[in-house]
């Protein structure tokens, strides 16, 4: 059998394969470029970008938990101006879609960010992070309130023609409500899940471990929850879903795809295996060859048939 066709389209963005980097776990792509050609990715999603530079939260910012990590990095980034003036150059020769994750405290900040990024030709799409648990104000509030989410996405939609992927928070009672609100407001795709809010305490110092007290849980520990949410959301929405949360292997990725995700993103796994993304792409192709599947699209929602 020839190389299988792994291509897929996410809200108007064509990907040669369905595996992208998860925001905040892959820098601007340079770091893993030291291990392999980043052009192998389906798409590059860069870290959370805000209007103004952010210093991030005080250390410690990472603590390991059972099969997962809690992080409280807190959107440390040099700001959108710096991104456009300095970082963007490195992508001019790139052939893979570049997706910029945007975040803020206020609705206006998201709108200004989208306005600023709209004319930047290197940017293929925006991932609107309405779900960051590491910023005190706003951030997650947008992702947990149906009306807020609707208004925010509508506002961003009005100022950009770039494809919008709305990133959902798992820290809600019913994720499908926010998913539907985002779709109705004009989202081209959804991505989920962001990290689950959590914490850890050091019993010797009798203090929370993270400098920021609370952090976001990611890694294998969150996979069953993420998978369930992808399953529930894909049942309800018409737009494509990008699944993530604890994907370590091609098998994990295939579970998300069979649950209804059209593509997947890989975050924490990169820290453990710097070659995680190319390994997962290869693994998906291998599975397709083994099972005589010519087109990747046949696998999307495969577990839903009859469900």
């Amino acid at each position: 059998m020839n190389q299988p066709d792994l291509s897929v389209e996410i809200g108007g963005i064509s990907l040669k394969n369905p595996v992208m980097s998860a925001s905040g776990c892959y820098g601007y792509g340079k770091e893993y470029g030291a291990f392999y050609d980043v052009e192998k990715l389906g798409a590059l999603v860069v870290k959370g970008t805000t209007l103004e530079p952010r210093e991030g939260n005080p250390p410690p910012r990472i603590v390991e938990t059972a099969a997962g990590i809690l992080n409280s990095v807190g959107l440390q980034n040099p700001g959108v101006e710096y991104f456009i003036n300095e970082e963007i150059r490195t992508f001019s020769g790139s052939s893979i879609p570049l997706i910029v994750n945007i975040a803020g405290n206020l609705e206006e900040e998201y709108i200004r960010l989208a306005e600023k990024l709209d004319p930047v030709k290197e940017v293929s799409g925006l991932e609107v992070n309405i779900s960051c648990p590491n910023v005190k104000k706003g951030g997650m509030a947008f992702g947990t309130d149906v009306e807020c989410a609707h208004r925010l996405v509508k506002g961003v939609r009005a100022v950009t023609s770039k494809p919008l992927i709305v990133k959902l928070s798992p820290n809600v009672t019913d994720i499908t409500g926010v998913a539907l609100a985002a779709q109705e407001a004009g989202a081209d795709a959804l991505s989920l899940i962001n990290t689950l809010l959590g914490m850890a305490i050091d019993i010797h110092s009798r203090k929370p471990v993270l400098g920021n007290v609370l952090g976001g849980l990611s890694g294998p520990a969150v996979k069953p929850v993420a998978l369930r949410m992808v399953w529930q959301v894909s049942e309800k929405v018409r737009i494509p879903v990008v699944g993530m949360g604890g994907i370590m292997t091609a098998e994990d990725a295939l579970e998300f795809i069979m649950a209804g995700a059209s593509a997947v993103a890989v975050g924490t796994a990169n820290f453990i295996n710097p070659l995680a993304i190319p390994d997962i792409i290869e693994g998906i192709a291998g599975y397709m060859i083994e099972n005589n599947i010519r087109e990747f699209k046949e696998l999307i929602g495969a577990a839903r048939k009859g469900a």
Binding site: C25, G27, A34, F35, I62, V73, F271, N273, P274
Partner: protein
């Protein structure tokens, strides 16, 4: 160039109650590694407990044989699992990572201060400095005698380190920083290099500043990626002392203006002006 591969354990020796030295066959990493750099090891191959890799300084290397050595102390699950690995088994290793110690051509007389297993990155540096015929003095400190690291290896290089053991009975009965203070009253050096617990490094930095002695320290931080992608290892670094573009100043802190830098990329070595 960074490498990520499986490497075979050539030798694994117990050096003290909780101290081990492990020698790994990693020729690619050996080819490029410089003193002060570290490797990121995966101690658990199958499961997810622990999930993350563990960073260790390069203690020594034999370029001809392609063998890289690490000296480590068992402090928790990861190092405990590591300590049970046998010769002939393999480990996933990533490296070389981080910014090496800067070496200055004009330096002729150098002092090193190590706290416990903090001696690890200094051993490789000592070997290079001695190869350049630099006069080197080393102060080794620990709380207990059995926690001292490096004495044997230094002696093999022809260096007799001065020892400070807080709980005695060997050497100077007190902190290694007290020994440093006394030393600097008597003698002057072109440079200082230091690694050890954070509280010790703080004191070393303070003492060196008083004496206008320049140098570098190697810091530790909890790490996830080890390559600069996650921003998890951030440490507040004094502004105006580095050129990194990533810096975003941290507001509202008293004292010198600082910005968070990645210990895994901008460090783990930092100049004495940059830290604390």
């Amino acid at each position: 160039m960074l490498f990520s591969s499986k490497s075979e354990i050539v030798q694994h020796q117990k050096k003290g109650p909780a101290l081990f030295r492990i020698d790994l066959h990693a020729p690619e990493i050996c080819g490029e590694a410089r003193p002060g750099q570290f490797v990121h090891l995966k101690v658990e191959e199958r499961g997810y407990h622990p999930l993350l890799r563990r960073p260790f300084s390069i203690y020594d290397l034999d370029r001809q044989e392609g063998v890289l050595s690490i000296t480590y102390k068992v402090v928790g699950l990861g190092t405990e699992i590591l300590s049970q690995k046998r010769q002939g088994e393999t480990l996933e290793i990533m490296g070389p990572l981080g910014r090496p110690f800067t070496q200055w051509k004009e330096d002729q007389k150098i002092i090193m201060v190590a706290g416990g297993v903090g001696y690890a990155p200094l051993n490789f540096l000592a070997r290079e400095l001695l190869g350049r015929n630099i006069k080197l003095e080393v102060l080794l400190g620990a709380r207990k005698e059995e926690e001292l690291v490096g004495e044997e290896d230094l002696k093999a290089m022809g260096i007799a380190p001065e020892i400070a053991v807080e709980e005695g009975p060997r050497g100077f009965a007190g902190r290694v920083t007290e020994l440093l203070k006394r030393k600097l009253e008597e003698e002057s050096f072109h440079r200082l290099y230091s690694c050890g617990p954070c509280s010790m490094l703080k004191e070393v930095t303070r003492i060196s500043r008083e004496k206008s002695l320049k140098g570098e320290v190697s810091l530790e931080s909890i790490m996830a990626c080890g390559v600069g992608a996650c921003l998890g290892c951030a440490f507040p670094v004094n502004e105006g002392s580095s050129e990194s573009k990533l810096e975003v100043s941290i507001g509202e802190s008293s004292g010198p203006k600082t910005s968070y830098q990645r210990v895994c990329v901008e460090g783990p070595t930092f100049s004495l002006e940059e830290v604390f």
